[in-house]
């Protein structure tokens, strides 16, 4: 059962990823991305990381996608067809990616993973305590750093997006 679900999810991910990078309509592309992200959240569910899946859905699907859609709507007409790369370039890139994929897969399949059979369930509390732990192996410092980063990103985004228009009275420059 899980196996079938996995294949379905994998199929969804790959197909929509492809659609996302090849669609000529911006908004569709974003929506396809949303499906991919949801599919990934599905994988998280499958491997029993529910918290992660939730984050994936809220932050990614809920936050980032919305941001992107906003920006798309701000800068594009919905009906606008995107310009596509030259075929030669596409083919070359595709070949390169195939090659890279081959290298990856070759490496992966030649590597013996020391898989541990398990059914461990991870609770949100575990993650929380690990994140806020001061002990060895605790993640309190990166956690703080990330929070600072987020703050900085937020301030930065506001400053950048605000642009000169609000600070300068001189509109003609823009």
């Amino acid at each position: 059962m899980e196996r079938i679900i996995f294949y379905i999810i994998a199929f969804i991910i790959i197909v929509f990823a492809m659609a996302s990078v090849s669609s000529r309509k911006m908004l569709r592309s974003v929506i396809y991305l949303l499906f991919v992200l949801c599919g990934i959240a599905g994988i998280y569910f499958l491997i029993d990381y529910n918290f992660l899946a939730a984050i994936q859905l809220t932050v990614y699907a809920g936050g980032i996608i919305v941001l992107i859609i906003f920006s798309v709507l701000l800068v594009h007409h919905i009906e606008m067809e995107l310009e596509m790369a030259k075929p030669l370039r596409k083919i070359l890139t595709a070949l390169l990616c195939m090659l890279g994929l081959g290298v990856f897969l070759y490496t992966i399949y030649n590597n013996h993973f020391n898989v541990v059979d398990n059914q461990v369930t991870t609770t949100t509390a575990d993650i929380g305590s690990k994140l806020l732990s001061y002990d060895a192996g605790g993640f309190i410092l990166p956690f703080e750093v990330v929070s600072v980063l987020l703050l900085a990103a937020m301030v930065g985004a506001i400053v950048i997006a605000k642009g000169k228009k609000l600070t300068d009275n001189n509109d003609t420059e823009l």
Partner: protein, 105 residues
């Protein structure tokens, strides 16, 4: 663990996803599309972290926590990128990659 699914299969899927992202990154002509491709790449790697954590070291949480960080960073990154794109759009009325080549030389 997903019953009946080995780590290889999951890694294969993420690899494919990764390269689809790379492909998009290189070929798309629009900054937002590029951003989308980046999200694909990021997600592919996040999944890898998580899966390897689950399959190989189920007792640890490093992979998961890293995934959370990556997601946080991705969110920050996207916010910044979007703000840059919007600002750029105001300046040059375009978000096409070819119009941003003034950086060259």
């Amino acid at each position: 663990m997903i019953a009946g699914i080995s780590i290889y299969e999951i890694l294969t899927v993420t690899s494919i996803l990764f390269f689809i992202g790379v492909y998009g990154f290189i070929t798309r002509k629009n900054l937002i599309s590029v951003l989308i491709s980046i999200e694909l790449i990021l997600n592919a790697s996040v999944v890898n972290f998580v899966v390897i954590n689950k399959y190989l070291y189920p007792d640890m949480l490093q992979g998961v926590i890293f995934a959370i960080f990556i997601i946080a960073v991705a969110a920050a990154e996207t916010a910044l990128a979007v703000s840059i794109i919007i600002n750029l759009y105001r300046q040059i009325s375009s978000v096409e990659v070819k119009d941003t080549e003034v950086m060259k030389y």
